[in-house]
Symmetry: C2
Subunit: 372 residues, 2 copies
């Protein structure tokens, strides 16, 4: 079964939408933050810990799983869900972003991308068809089209050619897709150029996908303004009855700005990556547990938080773990940060239902002063 | 309250004993394997995961906690139990072993040991009184006397002087001990010298402790024969109504040999350390998940195992995590290995109750062929 997006309520004041997505692994509500499990594991966490965070869809990565352990092994295991024992929906990224960010040098041709493995330097070649075939075997609920992610610094000319090629790649990928239980999303590119985003959106929608990603906003170098422009220029041309996914975005402020503009899905490694460096999201902004002010702080990261970490451990203890390079520290912070973003989404969904999204955003940002 | 050891059954054929220990944090059964939480954390695992492994006492370390975060901070937190949120009993090692194994160079005087911190190289001085004072503040259920751990290669003359000093240190530590809720164990040293072990045991028992450690068997260089001799030479002089603790030992074969000789308690970092390198205990011996033969093995580490890891994940998946340096791999293996040793102890206790320890040992060793 393909996914089905149900638009359940539109905020009266903004483009924010409340809805849900029916999948082969349950119904999940939107707007939604998707934790990232690049290598078939959300770093340090078990599936049960993710369920306890009320995770919906999680994201995994075609490029990484292709290289190791290989899509055929995962197919033999019965697909990615069985391999990693995650019982809720999984979305796989196409590998496009990773090829352009991790694997250098690269040679982009009409056929695909030649590059070297970031693991052993071997020569690899990824095409739109190959990316889709890998994802078909991984058997994720949602596959993404293979796209080019040009940097923000790309010239108009380069970006225009790239957008056109990405559309041709999306068409080729769609034609080679042959997993009836897997949905496929197209990806809108075009940088911060209004006409290119519009062109990309219109042409990609013409091909007919089950949902649409807005890409190219989370490379290095894009400003927040560029990100918001990319959304504003794309959204008007996307169908209302399909989910919209802002790729690689996970800062609380950006989740709010994205949702206000009509985005339904987000993913980001940020919540678990900053955890491994001792950082926690709080309603008062990001904090670093290494700070000496938490040395004798025997209170939870957040008194109001319902996560395992806040129910069981103090800042002083987590600080000790982080300072001692004890993995439990990063694990406890990963749980908290993941729950923080998912809980924020729960609250936002309630706010949208009551047409109070802007009020929620205002109250949130008044408290969340730092590091926005 | 001090601990109370209850000897409940003696095996008819060997010196193996079944019993329990009443503590301020519950009653625990012996023989028992104690997982090691050196820095106030059993590496990667939460207290709940340890409870699920049916952990009893866990061990933490005076030397490490003294250096970081400091015993005063832990006292302010309300003691080590509250600091790390472990609700079952905790035993703290005295720091003696770590001073002699980690901190070099060192200068041993009658007063104590001068050495350099393994963290920042600063000059430190640890005495029997200081070790006990730190442990009093940590408020563990069981503190250990500060001892010298000479290497197996030490001469008889050196070992004799060391044993005599360790006895004087035990007396000084006991006199400075002032936590009424904490029990204190003495430690028997003397290497593989029969008369020194006997002397150490008799003189240490004269001082009157709540239990007795047998030390100096898990430095580098001791043979298994030396370990078994150390136990055989010490046990006859230890009182029946106090627990005996073989320090730093955790290989399955050594647990069996120790229990057969009358030991009640064991601790070892092995189960979690080998986990982080991809190894698992099984009834058929130790296995390394990196081995290519597990690449497509979609069965649990052990079908018969009741641990979280075996109930939820396959060897192929764990192998992928280990090969990808994903922390979840070491975590899942740590759970399995900890449960393996604790489950083995449960089975041994049942065997002793039925006077079938030797039969259990024989059957176990017939299967456990490798890496003994």
């Amino acid at each position: 079964m393909k996914i089905k997006y149900n638009l359940l309520h539109k905020d009266l004041e903004t483009k924010a939408r409340y809805g849900n997505i029916e999948t082969n692994h349950g119904v999940v509500e939107t707007p939604m933050f998707m934790p990232v499990g690049t290598r078939a594991t959300v770093k340090m966490l078990t599936p049960e810990e993710l369920y306890e965070c009320n995770s919906g869809i999680i994201l995994s990565n075609t490029y990484h799983l292709w290289l190791r352990p290989g899509e055929d092994l995962i197919a033999k295991a019965g697909g990615l869900h069985k391999f990693m024992n995650y019982k809720r929906p999984i979305l796989t990224d196409s590998g496009g972003f990773q090829v352009f960010s991790l694997a250098k040098p690269k040679d982009i041709t009409e056929e695909g991308v030649h590059f070297k493995s970031h693991i052993d330097g071997s020569n690899l070649f990824l095409t739109p068809e190959k990316s889709i075939q890998i994802q078909n075997k991984l058997d994720s609920d949602i596959a993404m089209s293979f796209d080019e992610c040009p940097p923000a610094s790309a010239s108009y000319e380069y970006m225009k050619n790239s957008v056109e090629r990405t559309i041709r790649w999306a068409k080729r990928g769609k034609e080679s897709h042959n997993n009836l239980n897997q949905s496929l999303f197209g990806i809108i590119q075009g940088g911060a150029y209004e006409d290119l985003r519009k062109y990309s959106a219109i042409e990609t929608v013409k091909l007919g996908f089950d949902g649409y990603g807005i890409g190219g906003v989370a490379n290095d170098g894009e400003s927040k303004e560029d990100m918001y422009k990319a959304i504003d220029y794309s959204i008007p041309f996307l169908p209302e009855d399909k989910p919209r996914y802002l790729m690689g975005v996970g800062e609380p402020i950006d989740l709010l700005e994205g949702i206000e503009r009509g985005v339904d899905m987000f993913d980001c490694v940020l919540s678990t990556r900053i955890a491994r460096h001792g950082n926690a999201f709080t309603m008062e902004g990001k904090i670093n547990l290494k700070n000496s002010k938490y040395k004798e702080d025997f209170t939870p990261i957040e008194n109001s938080c319902d996560c395992y970490t806040c129910k069981n451990h103090t800042k002083a203890y987590i600080r000790h773990l982080v300072n001692s390079d004890e993995a439990l520290g990063g694990r406890l912070l990963s749980i908290h940060n993941t729950r923080f973003l998912i809980k924020m989404m729960e609250e936002i969904r309630e706010a949208i239902k009551k047409d109070k999204f802007l009020e929620y955003k205002k109250v949130f940002l008044e408290k969340y002063k730092n590091n926005i």
